[in-house]
């Protein structure tokens, strides 16, 4: 949460609390995205330890689409805050 978004009148505890929640949120978003795209893109028989070309491009597109869904849902919730 950028400093210029912080509403006035909050004391320091509240600001630190909000910053902490925001970071937790980003970490959780990253983790959910990672797990979801792993399940959608990576072959689970584990015949080798490298990601092949198909898996790699699937991952790139998966991240991109997940990002778009995050933004889309953010708009729908209409919270006026950017989802990221």
């Amino acid at each position: 949460m950028a400093a210029n978004n912080v509403p006035v009148g909050l004391d320091k505890e509240q600001i630190f609390g909000m910053a902490e929640k925001e970071m937790e949120y980003r970490v959780e978003l990253f983790n959910k995205l990672t797990h979801t795209c792993f399940n959608k893109c990576v072959e689970k028989k584990y015949k080798e330890s490298e990601l092949n070309m198909g898996e790699n491009s699937c991952i790139d597109r998966c991240v991109s689409k997940y990002w778009q869904v995050t933004n889309l849902v953010g708009q729908l919730l209409g919270a006026g805050r950017p989802p990221m």
Binding site: E13, Q14, G17, M18, K21, E22, E24, Y25, E28, L29, K32, T36, K40, C41, S57, C58, D60, R61, C62, S64, K65, Y66, Q68, V69, T70, L72, V73, G74, L76, L77, P83
Partner: protein, 95 residues
């Protein structure tokens, strides 16, 4: 997060500074909870609606599906909140 969920906490009997601290704690939990709800709504609707990775951009169908999914989830969540509140209320008055 439904307000009624926190009604058990008997705030009125607390001294002023504790009331303030309790209120801050509730605010913090509500912020965390709405961010988590947002994350899990995104994950749910993404998982249900997006399954092809031949292109980088969402298709029109995927976009429509995500919008409906999010709307349905929110309506569902409000309904659950209402029912849950009623049951909580019932439990509280039985005490």
């Amino acid at each position: 997060m439904d307000k009624s969920m926190l009604q058990g906490a008997d705030l009125d009997s607390l001294p002023e500074e504790d009331k303030k601290r309790m209120a801050t704690m509730i605010d913090q939990l509500q912020i965390r909870d709405s961010l988590r709800m947002y994350n899990s709504l995104v994950e749910s609707c993404f998982s249900d609606c997006v399954d092809s990775f031949t292109r980088k951009a969402l298709t029109k169908q995927e976009d429509t599906c995500v919008r409906r999914c999010a709307e349905k989830f929110l309506k569902h969540s409000m309904r659950v909140g209402m029912r849950f509140g009623e049951l909580n209320q019932g439990a509280a008055t039985q005490d």
